[in-house]
Subunit: 288 residues, 2 copies
């Protein structure tokens, strides 16, 4: 008998805990789905790493989740969404997935009045230029500036979401922006937990959007359109996998998820693909 | 003809650029040695990761450097020194190496008058308890407190070494310490570049020590004692290897090294050991 695809879980992948902001929105939008969340805490953060490295890590993670028979993958990490979706498509052509950049770009274009958008993101997401491409596709005359805000990742991970430290750091990044924008797009899943402090420091005319809630609605619509929505009427299950330190994942994740998941995080491992061996041979040869 | 071991290079390993503070001191203490520095920038930081993961990464790195025929390995990362030296000894019994904790502990014990020492380090180094063990061995009545300062890593990486952001963050960590200590031991190789700001915020009675310069002197003495010092009288060579983004390594590394190394950083790769494959099979089985 053929398996009912609709009853398979949805996979969510992030470099660590930041993607829990996306997961939280997904669970609200799709309460009857089963979810498997994978955080690659052994190799986080992705935001300071290269396209090639992020591609490799993302394919590793997608393969692991595919073995769990997920019906759909949400790439909840902005850096992975910016860098690795083409590589994912090539490596795993049968996998249905979406990233978080398209929805974030759409939200910012819908929100802006004057077309001036400031995107705050990791170094990698900024370097990729992907947000600018997405936004320009939707509104060709948009005036988009990107700002790498690496310290905000550390701030969110430390749980220092408000207070003088958060205000000082966020102010510095805001001061580095060209004035005139009316919309800030938070282009990293770590940043939404800093919104109250952003709100305090920004003019009331400035809108702050992020991709978590819009991505969740996009995923819901996609599942309905493809007849993949789980027909069960009971609440779905949730499983959290971390590639390192499940306790730390639970502790930091609490800030992002707003509830305690201490007993539900399991340790897992991501293999490195065989071409790493070839790499090493090659590079050892060239270095010696 | 037997190879002259003395002419082999010294390997230095760190999770990223922080260990360049140790390398800088080594180069000053041992100007005629050839050095190969390896920064595992594809998997940094180590400070938030588990003992098992840091052990695996450290052995990977040591194996790569051993293939470069190093005569001695300096584990310049505090977290790796705290967690992984026993595993390194077991995995590579023929390798001569030293970490940075013993020298740092010794420096703090020599410096303190009242025996009260505050160690600032990464989460992993704090969790390991290794600094406390080292210090207590040297002075049993020492009163040691440890403080995890994860934000200082991000601050140093961002190059925000002074100014209001650095002051605000360092003040918060200093305020979390029990007063009474007369010595601060900077137990992470990223932290020494923040010393001017620490100096500004601490009472003049408080001494600030780090392990970089003492480790360099320890290595010099070890090489002399074992007749491993390079007899050449010309300046030694230096090679920098990074497992990801050599340009970023050079850019951030400049803050730590005080000079430009943009044309001397090469990309390399660290393999994951075969037991990761077993891990994955095991864990996929247990999760499904």
């Amino acid at each position: 008998m053929k398996q009912d695809l609709r009853k398979q879980p949805i996979g969510i992948f992030d470099s660590g805990v930041g993607g829990l902001t996306v997961y939280r929105a997904l669970r609200e939008a799709l309460p009857h789905e089963d979810f498997i969340y994978l955080g690659d805490t052994a190799r986080l953060p992705y935001g300071t790493k290269s396209k090639e490295t992020v591609e490799r890590y993302t394919i590793n993670a997608a393969r692991l989740l595919q073995k769990q028979e997920i019906k759909f993958l949400v790439v909840a990490c902005n850096t992975a969404s910016a860098y690795a979706l083409d590589a994912l498509q090539n490596a795993l052509p049968d996998l249905s997935y979406c990233g978080v950049l398209a929805a974030g770009a759409e939200a910012s274009v819908k929100t802006t009045r004057n077309g001036k958008i400031a995107v705050l993101a990791t170094e990698g997401t900024v370097r990729s230029g992907t947000y600018i491409n997405f936004i320009k596709k939707l509104r060709a005359d948009a005036d988009v500036q990107m700002q790498a805000c690496q310290m905000l990742v550390a701030l969110a991970e430390e749980g220092w979401c408000d207070g003088v430290e958060a205000e000082t750091i966020i102010s510095r990044y805001l001061n580095e922006l060209e004035p005139g924008f009316d919309t800030i797009l938070l282009g990293c899943t770590h940043f939404p937990i800093l919104i109250p402090t952003f709100r305090k420091l920004c003019s009331p005319d400035v809108n702050i959007v992020d991709s978590a809630s819009v991505t969740a609605l996009t995923v819901r619509d996609l599942l309905v359109a493809r007849n993949l929505k789980n027909p069960q009427e009971t609440p779905g299950t949730e499983t959290f996998l971390a590639t390192d330190l499940p306790e730390r994942f639970a502790r930091v994740g609490k800030h992002f998820l707003g509830c305690d998941i201490a007993d539900r995080v399991h340790l897992t491992s991501l293999i490195t693909s065989p071409f790493d061996f070839e790499d090493e041979d090659f590079l050892l040869g060239s270095v010696a």
